[in-house]
Assembly symmetry: C2
Homo-oligomer: 409 residues x 2
């Protein structure tokens, strides 16, 4: 399976192949960073045109529709994460949403916070601040950097904890957590579970029903644009128990009565803060619709096939050049990106971008990530990217580049 | 000056008249709610097209430019508020920015928080939550609903306080505070001053140098679009003394080193939280440029002329119909909107929109607000809006409408 013709055959048999035409795709570069920023769906470009025109024509009257966007987009997202309507809200950034939900959870039930040392930085930083503010311990789980946090490790760390925050898919390793087993272990210990879905939503079938809380972003596999508003999930039965620490007017019951005291809305709306950025939020809706049309199970099937193919090529071509797989080998334990570790990872990544027209990204200290979003990535793209990679490293092209401008240890 | 021809003569003499062509303006309606949502500048529509194309073509490489937007847009805003480069940041919502700055100020110097009972609701709600969390008193200044908070009232309330939060221009009354005198009184008492500039920025010459902190929105007189990202100001000498309670990765020094502990950036960047919504943030830059090109002093001159003209028409036509001016009469003490109070305000506002093609807005309990942004509002628009208003009320058209669907007391 390592000839280009094999990849071409896989593409011909791909039931999702037609979705690529729904995105803006040029001949070059080969794009393997859709897990940082997804490609532009044509329907989103159309929606942006319509929204800007709507602002110009309807002016403030547009708010009659726009004001529903956070809940309406949330309801569209809900089936993708195994949630019910009224449990998901599109708003703010992942960082601010994590702050709101983790803060609310700690207000309700103070106690040590468990987070993985390999958790995405913003999650670690937000929780470090909240733990200090609430005067509770921040317990750092030392999971394996490739395998990610395991249920037994979480179970061993969660005793007496108030809140556990983990990612469904690790941002660097691509490791896919055992969501059901970990959530059960956390609940067994009496703590609350908050999942970060950023690298999972839209590409991994999710069933959040057991977990109380989640946050996630929409600019990766949901393709909603650079810095697109994020989302949050609060299971219905705990909504009324929690209050956002940021008491904004968009979370106020009878918002336009503008009454004297804060009185949070019933339901998911209470987790809003300020006025949502409509130009960015409007893009999320058509972006989510593309994913919903393809269906996450079909996306997942192709995702597993793409990452399996990448690992096969790694083993054949790249392991002999000093690469090490930084992503779990078991298909059931990985998301939709593959990390290749190499001591010269930073320079190799730059060389791919600058000299080979292939765009992966780099994550400190040594991982070159190849994101393979199934809706627009072809098997031949994987073949071509890795073929260029092996030639580049074999020729030592990366050694011509300057070292990383920042500490990568 | 109450004939239509007088208004037409004022328009002919208006040095800013040409700016109206820079906005999307149809023949109808008469728009008097630009203080809620400014009109669409043509340059912003062009920028949105370019930005969406940029995303499609450059993909993640666009971040090389986009990542600078919060500071770059902040630097463009700085001269409009009398701040220096590196003191303003465009990000998040006004609500979240207020939470970050007021929270940081209370962490640094705990003490009672002073806010006006007529302050915009989100400010009151955020401060109510923060005061409770910090275990400090929330002192509610009972200012006059038309005149707004006076320096002597603030001086009398600020003893022992940690923080004072007030709006430069009142959202309902349009009252313009004496910024210099109030800031001095607050500092005399040893408290910190945080100004909300939402109804002032872009239409009132501002000199923030004395105040430590400010927040404001960009979708009113800056015309950056529905829910456009807001801004915050932190005077340079206090930046290093403060830490945002929301410790996000965009405020981290060496963000992409992704190190183990939160270590806030030097300078204004430390007040960032999560990934900014680029599609919405990009609109702010060309929007601000339009205002900068016109110049705030010239905008202010026309603003005073427009509001003076509106008050003249009110006195002649509307006072006899039961209206009462809800905005200060002294030009130096008001912003760029005029509030007319009437017991039937809510129905009158709806009738203007539904039956007369004039768009003001309503603020509980009894104020119909007429926002008069100088860059695209003509004197003839004021004449026409108030002429339709007096006919409508004289004919009792508003009495045909249903009562307000919410409590307006």
């Amino acid at each position: 399976m390592i000839e280009r013709a094999d990849a071409e055959a896989l593409d011909r048999a791909d039931p999702l192949a037609g979705f690529r035409d729904g995105f803006v795709v040029a001949d070059a570069p080969i794009y393997a960073d859709g897990n940082s920023l997804g490609r532009l769906p044509r329907s989103v470009a159309d929606r942006m045109d319509a929204l800007v025109a709507d602002w110009g024509e309807r002016l403030v009257r547009g708010w009659a529709d726009w004001i529903e966007l956070p809940v309406r987009v949330g309801d569209r997202l809900a089936p993708l994460v195994g949630a019910q309507p009224g449990e998901v809200l599109a708003c703010d950034s992942t960082t601010v949403n994590l702050y709101k939900l983790a803060g609310a959870a700690l207000d309700r039930r103070p106690g040590p916070v468990v987070v993985d040392v390999h958790e995405f930085p913003t999650d670690r930083y937000v929780l470090e601040g909240l733990a200090a503010r609430h005067g509770v311990e921040l317990r750092r789980l030392a999971s394996d950097p490739v395998a990610g946090p395991q249920p037994a490790e979480v179970a061993a760390a969660v005793d007496g904890a108030g809140l556990v925050v983990l990612s469904v898919v690790g941002y660097r390793s691509g490791a896919l957590a055992d969501v059901a087993a970990i959530t059960a272990a956390v609940h067994e210990a009496g703590a609350a579970m908050l999942w970060d879905l950023s690298h999972a939503v839209g590409v991994i079938p999710l069933d959040l029903a057991a977990a109380e809380l989640a946050v996630g972003c929409t600019y990766k596999y949901l393709n909603a644009g650079p810095g697109a508003p994020a989302f949050l999930y609060v299971r219905r039965d705990v909504q009324e128990l929690l209050r956002s620490p940021i008491q904004g007017w968009f979370g106020q019951r009878e918002q336009f009565a503008m009454g004297p005291a804060y009185d949070p809305e019933e339901g998911i709306g209470r987790f809003m803060a300020g006025t949502p950025p409509i130009l960015a939020l409007a893009a999320v809706e058509p972006a989510v619709e593309v994913v919903a049309r393809a269906g996450v199970p079909a996306i997942r099937d192709k995702s597993v096939a793409l990452t399996s193919y990448a690992i096969e090529l790694h083993d054949a071509w790249l392991a002999p050049l000093g690469f090490e797989l930084g992503t779990p080998r078991a298909p059931a334990r990985r998301g939709s990106h593959v990390s290749l570790r190499h001591p010269e990872g930073w320079r190799i990544c730059r060389a791919l971008i600058e000299r080979a027209d292939v765009i992966p990204d780099f994550r400190a200290p040594d991982s070159v990530r190849f994101g393979l979003p199934p809706l627009y990535t072809r098997f031949v793209d994987v073949w071509e990217a890795f073929d260029r990679l092996r030639r580049l490293v074999d020729d030592g092209v990366h050694l011509e580049l300057a070292a990383a401008p920042f500490r990568v240890t």
